[in-house]
Symmetry: C2
Subunit: 427 residues, 2 copies
């Protein structure tokens, strides 16, 4: 029998409890022995719960789990940095294997956690921390091991994908859709972590750490959110054959990693273009296996709960058969994160200019001086003194692009630079 | 050390050999011990090979592998029914675990093979047999165990998907594209197994056996190919907001399984609509996990080779750590395959009729008498005595639909029934 201590009985914790109880027979058959949830840490043992639960299982003292010699496996579903991180460390130090769905502690402290797990010869698993409903971390670690993945393109945040989808389908502006999403519970009352791209940055850092067998420091991941995406951007994208998605990208390049999160124009014909609403997807490219995509719900009680239960099954099985921890090897590889300035991208630019003769040549001269060459120019003449120029560049270093934008802003005939959005075509 | 015997050194066999040799360090780290390819069965030991290989490894005598007490693990990559099936049985009888990418023997003899593997307490794995490049069988068996999958929709045959994609993109007829595909090597010189839907039927039978933990007899899987799809069908689909795909479907329904392969209209907005060219995809729906899709190359040396190597890693690891066979439990469940006549579908019908008053009411009367009600009717009047009626029905039992078609054919004003294609909207 494998005894489990659960830290937290919120949305995901209740989901895990329910999935285990509703599928006990099938799960225990896979594990090869009985599973018992021995103790559950909650903040209030008297609170009314959405799941029916024997009160004797509940405790408000973490030591009853972390110091309990009966417990083999600790499942951390509290979320946030502290006390979650301390609990996980304590559990590992007490020779318990750990499962967590906490992207924050894995992205921030993954390296220390893996090291401690190795030293104590216990397992640490975190399938639920990235794109919960999509089986991806374990296939990456197991099925695709021999595949030498080079590139990862992910839609990793359900809130921003929901907002961009609604803007596209219902022709509404960002703020209006965000408000609706908050009312529907698809966005938090403080949506900063989602909207700013930070949540996706945590996830791509974790995914690239696993895939490229290296450690990626979350602070070196460039991220840009969707706050400035306008309905006009979405309409122009549509006219040009694109949709706008918040993409998380990680690419191996020689000794470095190009890793970043930002909105992007992607072709309507790319499989990621149909990843809509709260769905997530991860699109991989590997030398051996070619292109692969996994698609599913990225978060929520049941998708994340199901990923955590999958980790529980695997870890419990490994404990039962005395199989040592062989996944969480610390990597000896070090990849440098490439500075965003050095990355080459195509860009869509929307520049408002005075509708006068010679303006176009002023603009293109500055671009040319900065090695920005244009793939397409769309100028709509209107009965107005100020007109938009919609430009798409060829690949250009980010630094050169930024220098050209600075110079453009100094022109009298340039009223404003309305939009600067990367165009991803090389996947 | 785990010693491997390889049966076959064709396209996939050479791929497996190459992947293992090029990634030995990373693979052995995952397995936890050394891997050694001990012997390789070939038909001609003197033939020139695409991979560099020590001739002493080659043998043309199957016994040198199947009866070799040194060998722990046999990898069958010969293909076809015989002698592959006999070899697999013999290997299992001699207490060797087996990996195969052979959909034919798994679909036809899966039940006997699993039974023998259980009796001898060895493993049998076949990730490479279905949609090689997509990690799906193992996630189904492991990560998604607790997810109670209800429905599977697959694009499981690369050749037919390539043909339908080309017909759609280049506005060409079936025969022309098939010829091109044969010249390019994307279709066999005898393409019957792909074109007729049989290949996809094998794969959906295997997938549903695993997912629903039951045994599906390949002979009870209804299959219909793409030979009769015309460019007109594709154009009408496009006008109505659909694309045509060869879908493999398996759905749990009460005590039965609705399992079938046929061309289908699917919405352009569904994620499967962007699965183009030789790509495969599997779209699952489960109570817990919601909708999931996996997408990738379904066949080919490296995608299939990579799936086989993933199986080798897992099985070698299990052997090394003395973990018993716990996946290939014979199912005690029996699901009856539901007769296609009983299945309800929406249908697109293209009927050529005389352009005379009263014809429409003759047609709709017959449909109504057979409980076929119409969701949409498109009649294009042309300067021609014969015009097409494009009809889309509401859900109707297949038997009722077929009865109505028989009656329609007896009408003098009905010149022919050009197309009958199912419309899949409920996924």
């Amino acid at each position: 029998m494998i005894k489990i201590g659960l830290l937290g009985l919120g949305t995901v914790g209740s989901g895990v409890y329910k999935i285990i109880n509703d599928n006990r027979e099938s799960i225990e058959q896979k594990v090869g022995t009985e599973l018992k949830i021995e103790k559950i840490l909650v903040s209030d043992t008297n609170k009314k719960r959405s799941v029916e639960i024997n009160k004797e299982l509940l405790t408000d003292q973490a030591e009853n789990i972390l110091e309990n010699p009966e417990i083999d496996l600790v499942v951390e579903l509290i979320g946030g940095e502290e006390p979650a991180y301390s609990y996980v460390k304590k559990a590992i130090d007490n020779n318990k294997s750990v499962i967590t769905a906490n992207k924050l502690i894995i992205a921030k402290h993954g390296s220390e956690i893996l090291k401690a797990a190795n030293q104590n010869n216990v397992q640490i698993s975190f399938e639920g921390s990235v794109a919960g409903g999509i089986p991806i971390i374990r296939p990456l670690k197991e099925s695709l091991v021999a595949s030498n993945i080079n590139n990862i393109y992910g839609i990793l945040n359900g809130t921003t994908n929901y907002i961009l989808t609604k803007m596209t389908e219902e022709k509404k502006e960002f703020k209006e859709v965000l408000k609706e999403a908050q009312e529907l519970g698809y966005a938090e009352s403080d949506p900063t972590s989602d909207i700013s791209g930070l949540d996706a940055a945590y996830k791509i850092a974790i995914l690239s750490s696993i895939t490229f067998e290296t450690y990626v420091n979350i602070n070196s991941v460039y991220s840009e959110g969707i706050e400035d995406i306008t309905l006009t951007d979405i309409k122009v994208a549509d006219e040009l054959g694109y949709v706008i998605k918040l993409l998380a990208i990680a690419k191996k390049q020689n000794e470095g990693i190009d890793i970043r999160v930002h909105p992007a124009f992607i072709s309507k014909k790319h499989p990621l273009a149909l990843v809509n609403g709260v769905y997530n997807a991860i699109y991989l490219n590997g030398e051996i296996v070619g292109d692969i995509m996994s698609y599913g719900k990225g978060a929520g009680q049941m998708p994340t709960g199901s990923a955590v239960v999958a980790d529980i099954i695997q870890t419990a099985k490994d404990i039962h058969y005395n199989r040592p921890n062989i996944y969480s090897n610390e990597s000896t590889l070090k990849h440098m994160v490439i500075d965003i300035d050095e990355i080459k991208n195509l860009f869509y630019l929307r520049v408002l200019v005075n509708d006068k003769p010679g303006v176009m040549s002023e603009v293109t001269e500055i671009l040319g001086n900065n090695q920005v060459s244009l793939a397409s120019v769309l100028q709509k003449h209107r009965l107005s003194p100020v007109v938009p120029l919609d430009l798409v560049t060829h690949p250009v270093r980010e630094e050169n692009l930024n220098n050209s934008l600075k110079e453009l802003k100094t022109l009298n005939n340039v009223k404003s630079i309305e939009s600067v959005i990367r165009v991803i075509e090389d996947f």
